[in-house]
Symmetry: C2
Subunit: 307 residues, 2 copies
């Protein structure tokens, strides 16, 4: 093997190990915080809190909170400063999955290998569990150690999650179902539906540590690119993965006539586009130097993940 290839392989292994251990550590950290902050399953109304906890502790990768914590690291901040923001974005991600899975939306029975919230608790209860998690996410943001950061955090997270972010993307996605998709349409659906909350997560990590506006902006840009790359890989895995690896029914996007990158670009070009977007994401990290190595490792994990 030539020397440059050897060093690339070594660097890739180093990145993979870093991403894996950071994801595992931040998952433990965030799960402990979430468990402490979420109302107990024995606190009335018990069924509501049980439904909220059922979906929050369903075994996600916790990618968004890891990005929050890695962004905090990139600006020299602490994990504790960013803990509330990390939990808030995971609560919002979880609520969006509960509502997406509803019969009126994607009508999914399986999520992360377990029955979806509405299958276990009922449809009305699942709507309320989602509403409860979304509302609670904003309450959790007010628990941020740096109180001066709260207003900016609420704004960034609401924008990433709202009608011109994640919720808006979900609406575009619904409207596009069964209609011929263009690359431009798919790009804007995914920029809103997936990348906006991932971008807000990266921005929130910096905001929580009261970093300079230019740093917050650069990390948001990183999140926009890596968020789009993430969604392309998601679309590819929906086609190539097994139900066991995926934890949900694969091939549903194609059957539902969903607008996806592989559908408009083909598999090979879709993967190349994910790699191109990731390179642009890494470009946004340059000003941070070695402090952004975890964010870069997480970005490389996004590209290489198998589930």
């Amino acid at each position: 093997m030539p020397e440059s290839q050897q060093s690339r392989a070594a660097s890739s292994e180093k990145h993979a190990a870093l991403a894996k251990s950071f994801l595992e550590n931040s998952r433990q950290f965030v799960d402990k915080k979430l468990d402490g902050w979420l109302p107990a399953a024995t606190t009335p109304p018990e069924t509501l809190h049980q439904a909220m906890r059922y979906s929050v502790f369903a075994g996600g990768k916790r990618l968004r909170p890891a990005l929050v914590l890695a962004a905090a690291e990139a600006v020299g901040g602490s994990r504790e400063d960013a803990a509330a923001a990390a939990c808030a974005v995971e609560l919002i991600h979880t609520y969006s999955l509960i509502h997406d899975d509803l019969p009126a939306m994607d009508d999914d029975d399986l999520r992360r290998g377990r029955p979806t919230c509405h299958k276990v608790y009922g449809e009305a209860q699942a709507i309320l569990a989602g509403d409860g998690l979304l509302t609670y996410a904003f309450e959790v943001l007010t628990l941020s150690l740096r109180q001066g950061a709260v207003a900016g955090l609420v704004r960034a997270v609401a924008q990433g999650a709202g009608c011109q972010g994640m919720v808006g993307g979900q609406m575009l996605d619904l409207a596009a179902e069964g209609r011929p998709a263009t690359e431009e349409l798919v790009r804007s659906i995914h920029a809103w539906k997936t990348a906006a909350l991932i971008a807000a997560s990266c921005e929130a990590g910096a905001l929580a540590c009261q970093a300079a506006p230019s740093q917050c902006e650069a990390l948001k840009t990183y999140g926009q690119y890596i968020g789009l790359a993430f969604q392309i890989i998601d679309d590819i895995l929906d086609i190539t993965s097994s139900p066991e690896a995926l934890g949900k029914t694969p091939g549903k996007d194609v059957r539902a006539g969903k607008a996806t990158f592989p559908a408009v670009l083909g598999m090979e070009k879709a993967r190349a586009e994910a790699e191109r977007l990731a390179e642009r994401a890494f470009g946004a990290l340059r000003p941070f130097g070695a402090q952004a190595q975890t964010l870069e490792a997480l970005g490389r994990f996004v590209l290489s993940r198998q589930s």
Copy 2:
């Protein structure tokens, strides 16, 4: 008519006139702000913003924002200071109506005399319109003139609206349907489902003006009592009103076996309880003297309203 009775009648007329003009003025003020802050119906995704606006501008009384503005007045604050909080609570109230009306929840076709959001835009779209409004409410709170008030506002509004507030009450209500109700159960359902957001509205008016904690607390207490009284009158009107006056189908609570005050106490005792609660609410206003006359007038309006 004896003199004391004459003066009571005059005072009651004065209160009614004050409440009526304050509600009308604050409705105009808040509607203008909402129109300016909500994304335009022509902003993508258009259907989402149209659905959000359809429900927000469906002709509600705007009682909650009026309470926010009256609470601001009680602590010597300005309408502009409290504008964002007033709009936010109305957005949250509107989202809760959209989700309550869904087929999986109360399955209502008519709201404020018009087809419900899901009847016009579809079920998935109505879920998303509700999610969009709830998320946007928190973004609007960050537009508060006093940025130092934002964290406290987000906390208070999230608590009033969330799993141990309005959403929790909705869950209790669902669980109680068709089961024999006790006075205690009805009281706790309504304390959460209705009074919590009304209490948060009153508290938010004071918080938005950075009033003293004791003032914020007193106004929250006022809101808890007047919120419960409001719900009792609502339950009574559901039995006694016409569809035209009510703007929705009356008698639905009784048919659905809903836990209501008239059902557990009878009509006369329910009305007496509403008056007793209102007196306790007015008691909480004493420290504010004449500055709280609008809040008192709004409380008396709550008791005497016919729709």
